[in-house]
């Protein structure tokens, strides 16, 4: 009866109004032989016991704030979240409401998400943003659906860079099973180390979409302007999967001419949380808005002449279009869109620039110190932001084991996804990594290379 506010007397009175004798009598429609199964579950815990039990489970983990020095990134980043963010998220008015179907009593959510859309368009330089997607990977898969719908299935080829996040490419594979697509560019034989030029040979008049990442999965910053020009000349659309922290500093994808810019906004105010829930952002040009999936909030006025916000262009969505909808998304990531809006607002332009600069500075210090170690080299010459590939004298899995013994998560072992990169560690550095942590990493790796 933990959260049920009904007394036995009230229950009996209610049963009488309904016209049945007992609670069990409400379930006559259910096949008798399957009715009221005995569930084999642990007995109920009180709040105090549940808190203790979960706290113990949580403490079984080694976390990156209290126990470990971490240089793991690869799609999820350890950033500082200003205190304000969670204080506002914990307002019941925000987190215990649902999708703002009734705009008269949902202007808090509606205006906050409208502002989120505005922040994302200003960050990417694009013209419209939707209200959110599940995560960066599903947002990327939805970009494929947009392109597919745009060409009404007449173009069926997508060109994907091998340096798009491997898991994002897997999700595109899963999502596009019903489309009969031809996917090229990222197969086993592709040279993952090549730059964007290498993709161009695949792009032709049957190509609907080119997908690249910025900075790419190896942390490299490419200017995609030329690639996009060439792809456009063939009539194809281009989607850039972008890291929002990097966008604070770098040339916008819009300036390069991108048609769709998506990505993972977890770095903006969302805890690591062992991988989710995160926040997929999706921005594009206004001309594609009718093909875009997901919720969209627009400005209007109410009956009293006040400025207000509503869910708009809902005719694109599943509840109207049903089997002809381009996406089936319904519940999205509302509260996390609010989190990222809070993050951007609280840090503001200056704070965000400080975060980006710290990431850049610390990553470059780390790269420069690490590359001085015997046998360790930076794998690429291209400029990078806060993530880079270190080529080690031993398999990355062994390096990571050694580092783990010294309390360090060394980086992402690229050999897991790229057979030619067995000795390669993808190292991410953020404002959370002190110089001392970086120096410790360098020291431990030096020791290792001397052993």
């Amino acid at each position: 009866m933990t959260f049920i506010p009904i007394s036995p007397n009230e229950r009996d009175a209610m049963l009488k109004t309904v016209g049945v004798k007992s609670l069990d009598d409400l379930f006559d429609a259910i096949p008798k032989k399957h009715r009221f199964p005995k569930l084999d579950l642990p007995p109920a815990l009180t709040e105090m016991e549940a808190a203790a039990h979960l706290s113990e489970m949580a403490q079984t983990n080694e976390n990156v704030r209290e126990h470990m020095i971490s240089f793991l990134g690869a799609g999820a980043y350890n950033h500082y979240v200003p205190s304000v963010v969670d204080h506002m998220l914990r307002r019941g008015e925000f987190y215990t409401a649902y999708t703002p179907y009734q705009p008269e009593i949902s202007q808090g959510t509606l205006q906050a998400i409208f502002e989120y859309q505005s922040l994302m368009t200003n960050l990417t330089g694009m013209e419209v943003s939707n209200a959110s997607h599940y995560d960066g990977a599903t947002a990327t898969a939805e970009a494929v659906s947009l392109a597919y719908a745009q060409f009404r299935g007449k173009r069926k080829k997508i060109v994907i860079s091998p340096t798009v996040h491997p898991q994002y490419r897997e999700v595109i594979q899963t999502y596009s099973q019903g489309m009969g697509l031809e996917k090229v560019g990222d197969d086993e034989s592709a040279n993952a180390e090549a730059g964007p030029e290498a993709l161009m040979s695949h792009v032709d008049e049957s190509t609907m979409l080119v997908v690249v990442q910025y900075p790419d999965f190896f942390g490299r910053i490419h200017d995609y302007t030329k690639l996009i020009e060439d792809a456009h000349a063939k009539g194809a659309l281009v989607c850039i999967v972008a890291n929002p922290t990097a966008l604070i500093m770098l040339k916008t994808p819009a300036e390069m001419g991108a048609d769709i810019v998506v990505g993972e906004a977890q770095p903006f105010g969302i805890p690591l949380w062992y991988g989710g829930p995160y926040l997929g952002f999706f921005t594009t040009k206004k001309s594609y808005v009718h093909k875009m999936a997901g919720r969209l909030i627009g400005e209007t006025v109410d009956s009293r002449g006040q400025r207000a916000y509503v869910l708009t262009l809902t005719a694109r969505e599943q509840h109207i279009k049903r089997e002809r909808a381009t996406s089936n998304i319904c519940t999205n990531q509302g509260l996390l869109a609010l989190a990222s809006a809070l993050y951007m607002s609280t840090l503001g332009k200056t704070g965000l620039q400080q975060v980006a600069n710290l990431c850049y500075q610390k990553a470059h210090y780390a790269a420069s110190e690490l590359s001085k170690i015997d046998g360790c080299d930076l794998c690429f010459d291209e400029p990078f932001f806060h993530e880079f590939v270190l080529c080690c004298p031993k398999p990355a899995s062994e390096v990571n084991e050694y580092l783990l013994e010294h309390g360090i998560f060394g980086g992402y072992d690229l050999g897991q996804d790229y057979s030619s990169l067995q000795n390669h560690l993808l190292i991410a550095v953020t404002e959370m990594n002190s110089k001392q942590e970086i120096d410790t990493l360098v020291e431990v790796l030096k020791e290792m290379s001397h052993e």
Binding site: A44, Q59, A76, Q102, Q117, Y309, N328, S345, K362
Partner: protein, 499 residues
């Protein structure tokens, strides 16, 4: 900037911005400086707001007050299970061990997380009667997509390639046909009969060897448990199809019946409905999928499993496993762990088997009580014992009042309206789901308000047409929003020189 011309109630965060104002600051760099990349790699401007912390707090506080919420009042939004969300969930999901673990850490360092996922998998299997489960999908619709992919993969693995038809009742939620549509399946709509059950004759006629399966919500969106469920399942199975259960309405069935026992082959859960993950103003949700034994090999990868068995004093080692014929990955990393799975785990742990049954019994009692109180005033087109929700008609003979007007008028009585215009098979539908976390007084006040509104509809219909009148905002010009399509705002044009 105010493109649509309305008076401003609360300025946007961009309008509140002032050049040079500072928010939270970051520490100075503690490493030697590196030059930035060449200029052609950098952006020329960053047109984002500048505010002080207090400006931000006041802005969002004011916005929050414009919202109706479960914490603030009764929210009987049918099909959404807007139950009270226990506050302890908000604490447990923020324990540092959960908040600060990276999804790519070595498994040895996240055994707490993996044990939680594993146990939750086992619990949900027990609750639903399924043999396998994935916790990866991000929401109900995402789970549906995974489920439909699994059904597709199963038939394909048997070289049964002519199956392209998905049977879906007319009362179904839009995500069901949309999910089938994503795989290019054709949707065959099956009507409901006069008692709100699947029309068996129509179903029988549609069943042939081109059927992928049937997507059924049970109890359905009328709140009716299908009285012929075993016959429905048999018809679909006999033609070689699979039964998909839309588990959005599982709040009626905990400890009452297990969908797996009824013969369903696949089902998604909505942890944000049944298991008290808060709805967040529109997510994040969580949409695990359970499957029968014959489909377990097709589940999305990876799942959490035991990779080294327990021995004497040593606990088992949990890790990731890939099902043999997996449909692939539905999203990056491992599902909505922190915000979804930890909260649902906390909730189930605090209920146990008897507590779970209480939830469904009282959810069903509350719905039936409201239905009984409203029966004489509102037409209930499918009038029998309902499950956790029921659908009434929001219209009266000889009146031009519509369900929308009734919904808006309820706001003047301080209630969130029910779902309206869904399911599509009821005219002017008002779909009412009280959940188990409301007391009798609240239900009585709500019933009284609806009865009063029915009177007003006759005596003062304009009260309804013009409602709401006591809320901060009135009805919206939705046409203007769609026509003018103002989808974002910017800093004012003269921003740098202002203030």
């Amino acid at each position: 900037m105010n493109k649509t011309g309305g008076t401003i109630v609360e300025p946007t965060i961009f309008e509140l911005s002032s050049p040079g104002r500072l928010g939270v600051r970051m520490p100075a760099s503690d490493v030697p400086e590196t030059a930035l990349p060449q200029k052609n790699f950098l952006r020329s401007e960053l047109p984002l707001p500048e505010l002080a912390e207090v400006d931000v707090v006041r802005h969002y506080m004011r916005l929050s007050k414009f919202n109706y919420s479960v914490d603030g009042g009764f929210y009987p939004l049918g099909s959404c299970t807007m139950k009270y969300n226990p506050k302890i969930n908000e604490d447990t999901c923020r324990y540092p061990g959960f908040l600060y673990t990276h999804p790519l850490q070595p498994i040895e360092t996240v055994q707490g997380n993996l044990a939680l996922v594993y146990e939750l998998q086992e619990w949900l299997k027990e609750i639903s009667g399924f043999a396998g489960i994935t916790l990866q999908p991000a929401a109900g619709a995402h789970g549906e997509f995974a489920g439909v992919l699994i059904m597709h993969a199963y038939h394909k693995s048997r070289n049964d390639t002519k199956r392209t038809k998905m049977l879906i009742p007319d009362a179904a939620h839009g995500t069901n046909p949309a999910s089938a549509g994503l795989l290019g399946m054709s949707v065959v709509t099956i009507p409901s009969d006069a008692r709100g059950n699947v029309d068996l004759k129509a179903l029988e006629a549609a069943c042939d060897d081109t059927v992928v399966g049937m997507m059924l919500t049970n109890p359905n969106t009328l709140g009716m448990f299908d009285e012929n469920i075993e016959k429905v399942v048999k018809l679909v199975h006999d033609c070689g199809g699979l039964m998909y259960g839309d588990g959005a309405n599982l709040n009626a069935l905990l400890g009452i019946v297990r969908p797996g026992d009824l013969g369903f082959d696949v089902m998604h859960f909505n942890l944000h409905k049944t298991f008290s993950v808060p709805h967040g103003g529109g997510g994040p949700g969580s949409g695990p999928v359970g499957v029968s034994a014959q489909l377990a090999d097709f589940l999305p990868a990876p799942l959490v499993g035991v990779v080294e068995e327990a021995e004497d004093d040593v606990p088992p080692l949990y890790g990731f496993v890939t099902p043999k014929h997996t449909i692939g990955r539905m999203k990056a990393f491992h599902g909505h762990f922190g915000g979804g799975l930890v909260r649902a785990y906390t909730y189930i742990a605090m209920h146990g088997p008897d507590g779970l049954k209480d939830i469904s019994q009282y959810a069903v009692l509350n719905a039936n009580y409201l239905q009984a109180r409203l029966r004489d005033t509102y037409k209930i087109p499918y009038d029998r014992i309902c499950m956790h929700e029921f659908v009434a008609e929001g219209q009266f003979e000889g009146s031009d009042v519509r369900a929308l007007d009734i919904a808006k008028r309820l706001m003047d009585y301080n209630f969130h309206p029910p779902t309206n215009y869904f399911p599509l098979i009821v005219h002017e539908a008002l779909m009412i789901e009280p959940t188990e976390t409301e007391n009798k007084d609240t239900l009585d006040r709500f019933a009284d308000a609806l009865i009063k509104i029915a009177e007003e509809a006759k005596s003062q219909p304009d009260l309804l047409h013009n409602a709401p009148s006591t809320t901060e905002f009135g009805r919206m010009d939705e046409v203007k929003a769609a026509r003018e399509l103002v989808l974002c705002c910017w800093l004012p044009e003269n921003y740098e020189t202002m203030k």
